[in-house]
């Protein structure tokens, strides 16, 4: 990596930035899920590792969240955008050199940001925990150069139109920058009170809704047609998905605070808009699943399609929960319980992670021109992720229902803690499976770079047979 920092732009091979982002994202995925597994162990066994005060749950919880969001999810997005955007524009990435610098400064900034969070230096606002100097660094050093590369590549495309995936990439980067700058206004201008509380959740909602889920969807719009060879089922349904995301997903932020004293009109508006999230959700899932027509065998045979379609199928319960759990009738029961934790992991570890893992698997094979080292290890990774995630999701959903019932029937809180204990243990086991699966993944990708069968020019990795 270092040798490309000061190389001339034309001397840097295409895809370098994407490869660096992809490898970093896998490393951060291991770190992030390792932290998650450790935190889960502490919730099951509170005196686990007692005495290491640096490893306090209250200091590590947000480090897990930000390691997976900024490290794994966002860097896997950056990796995907840096090879998919030019491929769809029939051009080169606008600047590989900017991309390489971006990746380096991204990793440096993330280490610094997480170290500060770990030591307790925080703004005290969930999801925008970073202190404002770090916010500025994230916005102008980590995100804007990345967005610039995506936008300029789209502007410099050599195709007439823009494919669905690239609408999403360009628009989501724009919305992310706007959401990040507006969402952190309370810190920059010391806004206080309910305004601050509301904007904290406005930020949290929109960063998920306008970056994490639509970009994951955009990746599947590329991966599925590319690998199956089927054209996207409907460009028009893609339009419906895109526009309904922009209009419906950017408005229901207040549904995160249904039990707070926000103005009632705002809560009702947010709740109705929240149900309308089903419009882009159904459009999207139908579009992708119909694109698979005639190629369903690949769901079993092809590792990238297996990951992608699993992610798309997980988007169904995700959006059904997301659309309805925020209505007053259901929010009343499950607000603030483990159900929400399960739902958040369904979005990030379920839908989004599976889509990104596919993009990273595919991207590294294409960019390195190497066939995946081992299909068995990849399948092992897939099942560790899927079973680990399912254990996590089911156990936390049950724990959430217990908490919800206890909440409305006014059960003493200690009885809830006792009742939840077995599910906390299962959650820890599930998270640990994901962690070990990811270590295997890193090994598989390193071996792919070193010993994968070369893919001939003009061929897809899927067209080359596995040799082991």
């Amino acid at each position: 990596m270092l040798k490309y920092l000061f190389a001339k732009e034309e001397d840097i091979p295409q895809g370098t930035a994407a490869v660096f982002f992809a490898v970093s994202s896998i490393a951060w995925f291991i770190i992030g899920t390792g932290l998650g597994s450790f935190n889960a162990a502490k919730l099951a066994f509170p005196d686990f590792f007692h005495g290491s005060y640096a490893l306090q749950f209250g200091h590590m919880r947000q480090v897990h969240v930000h390691a997976v969001i900024f490290g794994w999810i966002a860097m896997a997005f950056a990796a995907s955008m840096m090879y998919i955007t030019p491929a769809l524009g029939n051009t080169k990435l606008w600047s590989e050199k900017l991309g390489v610098w971006n990746c380096l400064l991204y990793n440096v900034g993330l280490c610094l940001a997480l170290a500060l969070l770990w030591s307790g230096v925080t703004s005290g606002r969930e999801y925008s925990d970073h202190i404002w100097p770090i916010d500025l660094y994230i916005a102008f050093v980590m995100v804007l150069p990345w967005a610039l590369n995506v936008w300029m590549t789209i502007l410099n495309r050599r195709t007439q139109g823009i494919y669905t995936t690239n609408w999403f990439f360009g628009a989501c980067m724009f919305m992310t920058v706007i959401v990040f700058l507006i969402g952190n206004l309370p810190e920059w201008f010391h806004l206080t009170g309910l305004n601050e509380a509301y904007m904290t959740w406005w930020f949290a909602h929109n960063i998920l809704g306008l970056l994490i889920t639509p970009v994951a969807a955009a990746i599947t719009y590329y991966i599925v047609p590319k690998i199956t060879g089927n054209p996207l089922y409907s460009h028009r349904v893609g339009h419906l998905h895109f526009w309904s995301i922009v209009v419906f997903y950017s408005t229901p932020a207040a549904h995160h605070l249904m039990s707070s004293p926000l103005p009632e009109w705002l809560k009702s508006f947010a709740s109705v808009e929240g149900v309308l999230i089903l419009v882009p959700a159904i459009a999207y899932v139908c579009n992708i699943l119909l694109t698979m027509q005639g190629k369903w065998a690949m769901f079993v045979e092809n590792i990238e399609i297996k990951f992608t379609i699993t992610g798309v199928l997980l988007a169904i319960p995700l959006n059904m929960q997301g659309g309805f759990q925020q209505t007053r009738a259901i929010n009343w029961y499950i607000h603030g319980t483990g159900w929400i934790v399960a739902h958040a992991h369904l979005a990030l570890l379920g839908f989004s992670t599976f889509a990104e893992a596919a993009a990273v698997y595919y991207g590294l094979q294409v960019l390195l021109r190497r066939k995946l080292y081992s299909s068995s290890l990849a399948n092992f990774h897939f099942w560790m992720l899927l079973i680990g995630f399912s254990l996590y999701w089911v156990s936390m959903t049950i724990a959430g229902l217990i908490q919800g019932a206890a909440k409305i029937y006014e059960v003493p809180y200690m009885d809830v803690v006792i009742g939840e204990h077995p599910y906390m243990v299962v959650r820890w086991l599930g998270g640990t499976m994901v962690f070990f699966g990811n270590i295997v993944w890193l090994y598989n990708m390193v071996m792919t770079a070193r010993a994968g069968t070369p893919v001939p020019a003009g061929r897809q990795p899927a067209e080359v047979a596995y040799t082991r």
């Binding site: 307790g120 005290g124 007439q160 206080t192 408005t251 103005p263 803690v417």
Partner: protein, 311 residues
Amino acid sequence: MAFREYKIGCWMFGIALSFSMTVTIFLPSIDISSMSSTKEALEKQLTYGWESGFNYYDPFLQGKDKPIKVILNKDPMTGEAIDETAAYVFPAGTHFPNGLTHDNILGDDVQKASVELGKIDQASEEAGAVFLVQTTEDDVPYIENATATRGWQVDAVLNAAEQKIYAGAGKTMFIREGCWWCHTLLPEQTQDWQTFGRPPLVGDFNGESPTTFGSDRKAPDLLHVGSRNSSREWMTMHFFNPRLVQPHSIMPRYDYLWGDKDANGNPIDLEAWDREYLEYAKGNRVYPPEVPEPAPDSEARKLIDFVLNLK
């Protein structure tokens, strides 16, 4: 090649996003900002000071730049007995909360009463000030600058204090130690009245930052915990090792907030304490080891003050 420019799409995108920003940011902010402070909001601002998260004046969240809440039983200047009064002492250089430095935080009536009756416009951060929370005959809460209205000086009030409550610094500990990842400060409007007390009102938060509602209730809500359990002894044991008073608790131990020495100046040896506790847990001891009393300037004391002050 003729490039499609996507002019209509760009316009539609701009209009859609602007519409969404107007409805979800601009309109709510007008509505929320028009809410008047309640008495709780005034008390919270005066207890917690300018900012409890990361800020210039306390970048490492050590509880600096915070006011001290004191309980008075006598007039600090004359020494005459008075009804028990809570006063909020801002030593010289302590930054004031937003409600005292911005005109649009308290709400029109509260602001008017605070200036006309409470003389808050005469308070100065450089010189320090002592504040009280009062109510007018029309039931409008307001802030009284006792330094201007009664001549109460910072040092005199601190000397006359019956009790000093470091809840402002304690909130910083609450945020730094991540208590709010499990304990919410937001009883829910629909069902928490019996167990966790009255949900907050819309004006209860003016000027407070951050509000730390919390989102994941892995533990009891704490907004009114000081009313449910006001035992300092119980809180001290619970923070040192929650399993001492609640065998099934999954809360972490916060024994490291005690620092090096206890209230009597004896060194605290956490490892030795742990060994004795383990003996107790195994059944080899009848009683657990004694929990040291936190020193007056320890972080544990501040955090306990904050929690007990949540009435």
